[in-house]
């Protein structure tokens, strides 16, 4: 039996026959899938970039942002419709290519797509631009003069494959600022961007040449060619990979890297009553189970305050119980030997610690899926081996957490927080100072809201170039009218 074949990429102006295709074997031994990704020559890449730039200048730049939002809203509506052919193809291919459970992909995709509907996108734009019309034409400034935001002529995206459908954030951001885009898919998830590009063109045929989806092997010369043509390069990936990319980005090109991140949860004693505690643990378990902790926003450690009816150790047990339950509803991916070895090594390290003293305990004897390690000692924040392995650390006060996360300052991102209203702002202030950029409820860690500041940055504002016509120009211009007296 030969494995089914998926042709990735979206290449306006190029025939399949003109392109070199690179074959990747993905999927599982039970359900193998072959993916062909396009590998362009330097001249093809250059021609493609010119085509994309030209088309976006002609068809995208003249569109009003509100019209672009309307197109995106229609595309999102189709992706949310389970009867739609593209949606069905996503539901079929994404689990196969990523190994994630089909039900997990379906549920997460649904929640994720909600943030790309028209209303949310309007808010997304308003988050960065008080007056969104600044993206359409020069707008008067209150102190005099005029200002306008121009998107890049060519935005190059380098996408990661850890979380399915991840490319949609930057793909949509690029369209909202009217940039021509070339996106490089990850070998681990080449499906979503390909299908999205095709769907967008179905919805708005004038966009046919405004973007392209390509592939190249990491670090290849192709990267240098693509980066040299771009105004802005937006890249997701590990820090080592990003560093290598940065070396290929010309100094005049803006480089927006999204590198390694580390996220965690905090539970205040206020949330640990007998009635509420188990529910909080359930939300925490969902954050751990969704995409098997592969996201930058996925928690590795939960700091839990002592002193409530539900103790930190009880919380750990509830969490272990919930995770075991989720294994039935949202089964974990099958791990590779290497991943399994890493999980095993992490678990054993804690097991040895528990043999040496009594402050550490492993919950559950189930050795095949999730593990909750409970520590009575204040352990610093460290990354776990992913794949539903999580640490619960007891603390007397939530302030005690701050020195424990301090060494990871450069990596902090999301904090899932269960706390009382009075605690929110003081903790938010302290966590922000410590380096965190996003605080959300437990259960919401893997679903950032529309318009979030990814890694503390502006999704749209970072892409544009502001153009000012200063007041002096206008004042002087008055002197040059034919009717001047």
């Amino acid at each position: 039996m030969t494995a089914p074949l998926f042709k990735a990429g979206y290449l306006p102006g190029l025939n399949d026959a003109e392109v070199t295709w690179h074959r990747l074997n993905v999927g599982t031994p039970e359900a193998p899938l072959q993916v062909e990704v396009p590998l362009l020559s330097p001249s093809q890449m250059t021609a493609l970039a010119q085509r994309v730039q030209h088309a976006s200048r002609t068809h995208l730049k003249p569109m009003a942002v509100s019209d672009i939002v309307r197109v995106l809203d229609q595309a999102t509506a189709r992706l949310l419709d389970r009867e739609d052919a593209v949606r069905q193809e996503l539901e079929r291919l994404l689990p196969q290519v990523t190994g994630f459970d089909a039900e997990m992909v379906r549920l997460n995709l649904h929640a994720y797509l909600h943030t790309f509907r028209g209303l949310q996108l309007q808010r997304f734009v308003a988050e960065d631009f008080a007056n969104p019309k600044v993206l359409d034409e020069f707008q008067p400034r209150t102190q005099g003069g005029w200002t306008r935001a121009l998107g890049p002529e060519l935005l190059v995206h380098v996408w990661a494959g850890n979380v399915p459908a991840l490319p949609m954030w930057s793909f949509v951001s690029g369209l909202l600022v009217k940039a021509g885009s070339i996106g490089k898919v990850a070998s681990a998830e080449p499906v979503f961007a390909t299908l999205l590009a095709k769907l967008l063109v179905e919805v708005e045929p004038r966009w046919a040449d405004c973007f392209a989806v390509v592939w190249w092997p990491s670090g290849a010369a192709h990267e240098r060619t693509a980066f040299a043509l771009a105004d802005v390069v937006l890249a997701y990936g590990g820090n080592t990979a990003l560093q290598a990319m940065q070396a290929h980005v010309p100094v005049t090109t803006r480089f927006l890297p999204h590198g390694h991140k580390l996220s965690f949860g905090m539970v205040s004693a206020c949330a640990l009553s007998v009635r509420k505690g188990p529910g909080v643990a359930r939300q925490a378990a969902l954050d751990v189970a969704r995409y098997d902790q592969q996201g930058c926003y996925s928690p590795h450690v939960f700091y839990v305050q002592r002193g409530a009816a539900v103790s930190p150790q009880d919380f750990a047990q509830h969490l272990a119980h919930e995770l075991a339950g989720l294994q039935h509803k949202l089964p974990r991916r099958v791990l590779s030997l290497e991943e399994a070895a890493q999980v095993g090594a992490w678990r054993e390290a804690h097991e040895f610690a528990s043999l040496n003293d009594n402050s550490t305990a492993l919950s559950g004897t189930d050795r095949s899926t999730s593990t909750v390690v409970y520590s009575d000692r204040p352990l610093p924040l460290t990354a776990g081996p992913l794949n539903r392995q999580v640490l619960v650390v007891a603390v007397d006060t939530l302030d005690e957490v701050l020195p424990l996360i301090a060494p990871q300052r450069d990596y902090l991102q999301t904090v899932g927080l269960a706390a009382a209203p009075g605690e929110l702002l003081p903790l938010g202030e302290a966590l922000g100072q410590a380096g965190a950029t996003r605080i959300c409820a437990l259960g919401a860690m893997t679903s950032p809201e529309a318009g979030w500041h990814h890694d503390g940055r502006f999704s749209l504002l970072d892409l544009v170039r502001m153009v000012d016509i200063e007041a002096s120009t206008e004042r002087e211009a008055e002197r040059f009218t034919p009717y001047e007296v």
Binding site: A160, N162, A186, A188, G238, H260, Q293, C296, A383, L386
Partner: protein
């Protein structure tokens, strides 16, 4: 303990053993270690494996090699031990695994018996050149002890070390190799794989190659460990063969670990990866690292070794090496390094790098 040592020495000396003999001695050792080694006892209890329940050597819990770093795995007080071997600490910085040997009798018998068979191949003594520091310079290195045994028991009087605190003694080694070549006396060069790389580089710089006499052999061990540039295995043996004029089936590789008391050998590296085999007092399994169960036949797994010569520490260890069963042995397919994190999520390995930076 002494009775156990005598039993082991007799076991090693036997030409062959039955499955039942192996099993019986493995279970005896397991019971002994369970009784006298408290951290190991707790480890086994955590996994519900006690001598009362374990009836096959395959069910003895495999102790991950990291435990040699975190726990004291010895049936006697460590300070009463004759020797303590330590790992080189390549994976976790300065934390070193420790393997305590109350007496060297078993380790030495295991090494000598096995070495005679696989490296000496019938000759009693041969001129040896060692590319590794002496035991005096590296008292905690099991490899240094192994090589000292080789020189003492199998080396002719003109055998020598060609690596000291000042580095490779290229000049002296070239002289020795030249002599061997001219006198048509076989020469066996042995040492760490990375030292061979340094030697190859040095000889290449001098534009020097040798045609060592028939019966000459090379024995490398341990991989490159970031101590030299990484060379693909095939290129490594091709270059060794070309530089020393030794056929690739006489370029042997030894697979050993500080956490073991017995080594594995291949029968040359004509093709790589070569099949590794151990003597009758060690048996290996390929397991799923999470469940500890054997992987289906033919699949890749993590190597677990049951080494009866490990009488004082733990009889079964779980390595970090990926292997695959082949013929009557296994091939090594590298280390089970943490899978590369696929995106922006931070996984342990990267964190460790970050923490060390």
């Amino acid at each position: 303990m002494n009775a156990l040592v005598s039993e082991l020495l007799a076991f090693i000396a036997r030409p062959e053993v039955s499955d039942d003999d192996f099993n019986a001695l493995a279970l005896t050792l397991f019971a002994h270690q369970f009784e006298h080694n408290l951290p190991f006892q707790k480890f086994c209890q955590g996994r519900g494996k006690t001598p009362r329940l374990v009836k096959s050597w395959r069910d003895i819990p495999a102790v991950p090699i990291n435990a040699f770093k975190d726990l004291t795995l010895s049936c006697v007080p460590p300070d009463t031990c004759a020797r303590t071997f330590m790992t080189s600490g390549t994976t976790r910085g300065d934390v070193k695994g420790r393997h305590f040997h109350p007496s060297m009798a078993v380790y030495d018998a295991s090494m000598l018996n096995n070495f005679a068979q696989h490296v000496m191949q019938g000759s009693a003594r041969v001129r040896l050149g060692v590319l590794f520091p002496t035991e005096v310079l590296m008292p905690n290195s099991s490899l240094a002890h192994y090589l000292a045994l080789a020189i003492d028991h199998f080396g002719t009087p003109d055998s020598a070390y060609y690596l000291d605190e000042n580095g490779l003694r290229t000049e002296a080694l070239c002289e020795a190799l030249q002599q061997a070549q001219e006198s048509d006396e076989p020469f066996v060069l042995l040492g760490a794989s990375y030292s061979f790389v340094h030697l190859l580089d040095a000889l290449q710089a001098r534009g020097q190659t040798f045609q060592l006499p028939a019966g000459s052999r090379l024995l490398d061990t341990g991989g490159f460990k970031g101590q030299s540039r990484e060379i693909p295995m095939d290129a490594f043996y091709a270059q060794l063969s070309a530089t020393f004029g030794i056929h690739r089936d006489q370029c042997l590789n030894m697979y050993g670990m500080t956490e073991l008391s017995t080594q594995f050998y291949d029968a040359g590296n004509q093709t790589v990866p070569s099949v590794k085999r151990g003597p009758h007092w060690i048996r290996s399994r390929l397991v799923d690292p999470l469940t500890g169960h054997d992987v289906p036949a033919g699949e890749r797994g993590i190597l677990a070794h049951t080494d009866l010569a490990n009488f004082n520490s733990v009889v079964t260890i779980l390595t970090e090496d990926v292997g695959q069963a082949r013929d009557d042995g296994f091939v090594l397919l590298g280390r089970a390094q943490g899978a590369q994190a696929k995106g922006c999520s931070l996984a342990v390995d990267d964190f460790l790098k970050a923490a060390q930076a």
